[in-house]
Symmetry: D2
Subunit: 468 residues, 4 copies
């Protein structure tokens, strides 16, 4: 079939999917302006194939395949993948676009499943490549009481689980949350969220289904909904992600689409394998966002005429160090990568998680610095309707001039406000903290990925003690 264009992708979304948005069911996601913005955003990962085939198109056995879907076999493959992820994020205003997440899930399936599940995963993978499908991934369960295992929850459906099985299919019930792209993807890959014991075998399930599969209902969050003019909302009037509460109301899944069927011992490894790739994706798609924060800080300091102040220089250097540390560790995670199971290359988990740690732990401080350098006008400045009124604009032009004309300064301030001080900024802040793993999850992976033997035995030797 070959690679699809953005428009072909858009057309493919017109089916019987059940998407709910702002309290009602949506007929056609492409026809609903707020959702269409998200579709346009995701179309970037299709359109780039025409625009930058060197980066976005790969030749696999003589066929053109989206470069997103090339399972990495080497450090160089990961370097190229990182560059592609960074480039689409750059076009997407500093955010993930779509194909990243589905390919992360496919690589995990190719590495961490076994037997029939692995065969199904490989077949699914071939089909996705061939048809250039858009995939969403549902991993995070709604979880209920976090101190209890899946089967111990008051309501057994709080983790997705198998409620029935016959020769040809399994039937699943439950809900996943924070599912990005579900409303504007072609298919949905479901992954387990954590390690599970034998008693939780019903919850150890992974599969893929078309979005319009009966029983699948998507409740899309209205976060950052509403009309937004490009003066006040230069980023969020153009870029948007859709996240859903994804409800499986006794959804029947054919067995040849099942990758994990009650093999609880594989649930944890599969969940972690996805994390390997998805955090690698994260630290690469965040790079343009880091550039945005550094660039915006540098520009607004100039616009406000404060670039020469010692404290301003210090704050800019702090931002640069933060940003470039993440970039450096992201690069390193590819350089240090190693072959994983079934020959799929694994980014270095220590470097990946440290990059993510620095990004996430430093994000709010970076926002604080940007806020500090920008000034109070972030929250007391004029709006698009003011700017559109010529008489008011004349006043604004006179009084908001600084080291640059008022228009540039106000546009920069609105850009920064959109990014740090309004709902889209809040969205980014929540993503920085929780998306692709929480702060504690990253810390846990750092601890697990680090082998203390070298350090401990060195100290034991110097301190003249045997190993403890």
């Amino acid at each position: 079939m070959g690679l699809r264009t953005g428009d072909e992708y858009r057309k493919g979304l017109n089916d019987d999917r059940r998407v709910f948005y702002r309290g009602r069911q949506v007929d056609d996601v492409v026809g609903e302006p707020e959702l269409a913005m998200a579709v346009d955003h995701s179309a970037i990962c299709f359109d780039i194939a025409a625009d930058r085939p060197d980066l976005a198109v790969a030749d696999v056995d003589g066929e053109e395949v989206s470069a997103f879907y090339v399972a990495p076999k080497s450090a160089d493959d990961l370097v190229r993948r990182g560059a592609l992820i960074e480039e689409v994020s750059r076009r997407g205003g500093g955010t993930i676009v779509l194909k990243e997440v589905g390919s992360d899930a496919m690589f995990a399936l190719l590495r961490a499943t076994e037997g029939e599940g692995l065969e199904n995963a490989r077949e699914f993978y071939r089909r996705v490549c061939r048809d250039d499908l858009a995939l969403a991934v549902a991993q995070t369960d709604v979880k209920g009481d976090r101190s209890l295992a899946p089967r111990q929850q008051a309501d057994p459906d709080l983790y997705l689980h198998i409620v029935d099985e016959d020769t040809d299919s399994i039937t699943v019930r439950g809900a996943k949350c924070h599912t990005s792209f579900s409303a504007n993807a072609d298919e949905l890959i479901v992954l387990p969220t954590r390690a599970m014991g034998p008693d939780d075998a019903d919850y150890a399930v992974s599969f893929a289904i078309p979005i319009d599969t009966p029983g699948l209902n998507l409740y899309v969050s209205p976060y950052a909904a509403g009309d937004r003019n490009s003066f006040e909302f230069p980023i969020s009037s153009k870029h948007k992600l859709l996240e859903s509460l994804t409800v499986f109301d006794d959804v029947r899944v054919p067995k040849d689409r099942v990758f994990l069927n009650r093999r609880s011992e594989l649930a944890g490894p599969l969940a972690l394998a996805f994390v390997d790739y998805h955090r690698f994706t994260a630290i690469n798609y965040k790079l343009p966002l880091l550039d945005i924060m550094v660039g915006a800080a540098s520009l607004i300091a100039d616009a406000n005429g404060i670039s020469k102040a010692g404290h301003v220089k210090g704050k800019l250097t702090e931002l640069i160090t933060w940003s470039e540390t993440v970039r450096g560790l992201a690069q390193l995670s590819a350089v240090r990568s190693r072959p994983g199971e079934h020959g799929v290359q694994q980014p270095d988990p220590l470097a990946v998680n440290m990059a993510k740690y620095h990004f996430a732990h430093g994000f709010h401080n970076a926002v604080a610095i940007l806020t500090d350098l920008s000034g109070g006008l972030l929250a007391t400045g004029p709006g698009g309707e003011d700017w559109d009124n010529p008489e008011i604009r004349a006043v604004l032009e006179k009084y908001y001039a600084a080291a640059v004309p008022a228009e540039k300064r106000l546009k920069l301030l609105n850009f920064i406000a959109d990014l740090t001080a309004r709902d889209y900024g809040g969205y980014q802040s929540v993503l920085a903290t929780h998306a692709e793993g929480s702060l504690e999850a990253e810390k846990l992976q750092i601890s697990r990925s680090f082998d203390p033997t070298r350090a401990r035995s060195y100290v034991s030797g110097l301190a003249a003690i045997d190993a403890l």
Copy 2:
């Protein structure tokens, strides 16, 4: 005349003021729903007189006066003032209400002006007390290029200045920004923004005028504009401040309303005297906001079922220490206060500015902690329209139950999102950084308020050196 009710205050706003909002002139601020919300918010400081006269009403020479307007003469007066400011902020959702700022300015005028200006200030003060007026304060100039003095700016109007004077009046031109409450106050006090030299004498000006004075034009910021339902926006659907770009288009001011007329040597002291009171106000009105952050963190940790985790306890303690350090230093700033000029009590500037420093430097970290404890649903949760649809609500109730029913959890999450992750949260973040003085301004005042003699001479003695 006696103390006014909230409704009397509302009626008083119906005059010829020129208020611009979202691109057009507003006929009646009370009649415009979005502005009326701000009026209602400010009315709290009138309505409290009936509700809590012990706290809000004072007897001055046999007359009932708003307790806000009692010039403090003792540490106890400041303790009482702090309690009143905290209480109206508590009613106002954790934000300043209105009368605080005008009284701060009046105390500054009573302390830092001299001669005829002081007489005018005292007469104005008597009138404000008698008529229970609502005052806004315009201090921050638009400033233009920050490395240049007022008279050096390309456009001489970038700092407010005197352009004409006759026997009875002065005429001023320029603009102030970040002017809170201007659109819903009765009068406007104008203060200089910084110390000035003799060459900038035209810029050393302070006065008070009714809001509907000809030539005064208010361009109100549309920040956090728009309809908002109480499910998604539990705070910001009820509370709002208005900030304006305040333009003085050759405004004529009668001389008996002028408090500072070209006496540049008084500009700095007057600006700083206002800061003394206004930061004292700040650290007291922020106390309910601090309680909000601590209380919300404590509740959401319970709701998510994670209160027992070691890292969660540690984060809660971090929040408590931050919040209670500010509260402790706020209390101390009154306890350590001392008589200022003309017998007006001055809060201890070291304690005031350290309280502000801790608040402002810790705010973004507190937001990060709240975000961390709340989880990703802050940004991917359902909206009011979803909740209002009974079929969708049933799904939400099933799947968002945790250690508490879904309704409580979602309400808490929306409360926290309103506070930290949407436009109102951004507004609070900008205020934390810039309102009542920037981070650098507080650091400067800490440095100025601290006498290093004790520490330096102690060290000189111990190190056996004479003073450097």
Copy 3:
């Protein structure tokens, strides 16, 4: 008997005490130069009675009593106590002197014991006041495996416990560590270290004994031992504390000296009551140390000629804010104090522990700042023997001159090195982290001392939910 002089205190130390230091038993602590320095340091708290009777001497029922030993009955009493503790610390180079700790223990005994134990405590208290005794306090057990309760330890002696009892006495065995002043006190008060259950009743023991009681052996730490000249070690050549491993080798204690005898339910309250006073002592005796750090930073910045640099100003302000926050919260802990059991005033535990938290969490950063401002000469500068050689001194005077003559600069640098970069500095750093409670202990007390009800119910109201 009346108050004793420093010399009378010194004479009282000549008894049969068994003190071990640097591998051998010491005959006479006053005759051993390194130990005598510690005796001189502690003598400050006796000599101040003659020098500053206004501060250090109280009239109790017509008798002169050391003001250290006045059990506080009011906030003012605590303010005065704070001032006394600060003053002796100032004379002691920024460190605790001696009488603070014994009086802390006595106040705890007067508040938290009951029945016969309380009677014994009161009688003991009267004798201490009358004879102006020097008291050490042994609280911290050696503890062994920290995850086990006292009775569960492999060796039952790892917590001090009662091994025998007859009509007139109990016999105890075990060891306490970190016991300050034991080698140069008259008597030793023993307190339990933590809450205990009924099964650990043998470990719930408190009493007081003379230091020369048979079976009591003190193993004094050699930390910071050795000759030290005053050029390189301006503080630590004059001031020193002694800490011991305090071993109770079947020590018999007469019953009238026992304050707690197996009443396990009182062990925790008694331990915490001591903590109340001892951390109050801590935050007051640290104030001169804070002044030292601020003063030294200010002076060395001048001496190096870098005071005008923006980053230097910022670092000085950071130090000031740290230091004065501790000072402010220390003051507040007295202002907010309240009556405890049996009428003994209790400092506000929230303010006390927050002051300690800020001190301890900020200490290493303060050291980093001082190190940064001082320069590498801290570790590569000349020594006392160099300075004493006239030919070498001439070279040093020529080449180490900066914005001040070389002598002043080098003395300041050595002062700072003694404080931050040599063994005495390390001692201060360990004390900052562990003395009077670890970082985690302070966090626990902050959490326990804070009542979240106000904050939680305020948020519940605003978020329109009932209490969770």
Copy 4:
């Protein structure tokens, strides 16, 4: 001549050098026990040639040359150099050994000098390689008043300068400080410390001379002097560096040993070129020190039985992240290296300086964590003389047992105390802050090494403004 052994190196130090230590001139540095320890430490970089020729010996044009002295031509060369530096530091207890610094200087000279200076540098380089010489580097001038240029100082000698010149030689006067290894090297390379203007041409001077050159006087710092037993000082009883005040008392330098003679425009580039290599050295030789801190923390947590506590895990992860971030950026600085002038490879300055920044800014926090996990025994524990007394040792063995026997625990604690809480720890702390560039110097280089164009133009595009 071939590579020398450690003993050959020792013999070479017996000459007429004028070394002053602790107030008197030293006849023979190898015969003076405290200095001999430093010689032994530096001998590591000779002895490794026999032990690990794969790492430490290179074949250059058929001759064996110390691998330290191989001028890097590729990223791989720098990776190898990093590994060698790390290995000798590992043998040296976590500290630089000797040959690193001289080779850093030679690479700088080969890159940043020109004309006759470059020819002399190349000739000098050949001789150093051939004779396997030990080189010290004197760069930092004593500087005097830091706000003044070299020629503006009250005493013109505060920066090293040329006072005379004839056909064959120049004569220099002044002093350098913080000169490591000078007392135990064969020769001394002198480099300028900063950029200079034409008016400071006399100060733009670089050359190399034998240590026993007439007029060269070394005043070695007594830091961490004195006998130290291996029980209390397991690291610092074995490893030591010597730093000197290095005085040039009209030293005559033959012209063929002069690399920079008044060409002020080359002073800055030469100083910075040295910094490129020397900070690369720094971040590699610090790696074992980082391992020490991580390993010691991990071991002491086990020994104290607290490894399972949540806050302990969190602190260990914080240490790991700090340590491995430095390691990662160190690796990256080689991976990203590029050819410099004259074909000498240049490590990536952004990665180098960020690694140094993370190391230096995190060091004091790491010390705080180690102190926290170790407990107060760091400062109140027993000494070597106690341990050597069998009766006392029996007491210590009984009472200091924890989750491991007392001996292991005490050895670990002393190891950590030596590293963090005694004079050697202070030395490391000062080095962390100042050696190879101060905190501000690293920040400046980060700022200079970062090209903001990408970030700024990206933001300009998104915000729809032209470049400012």
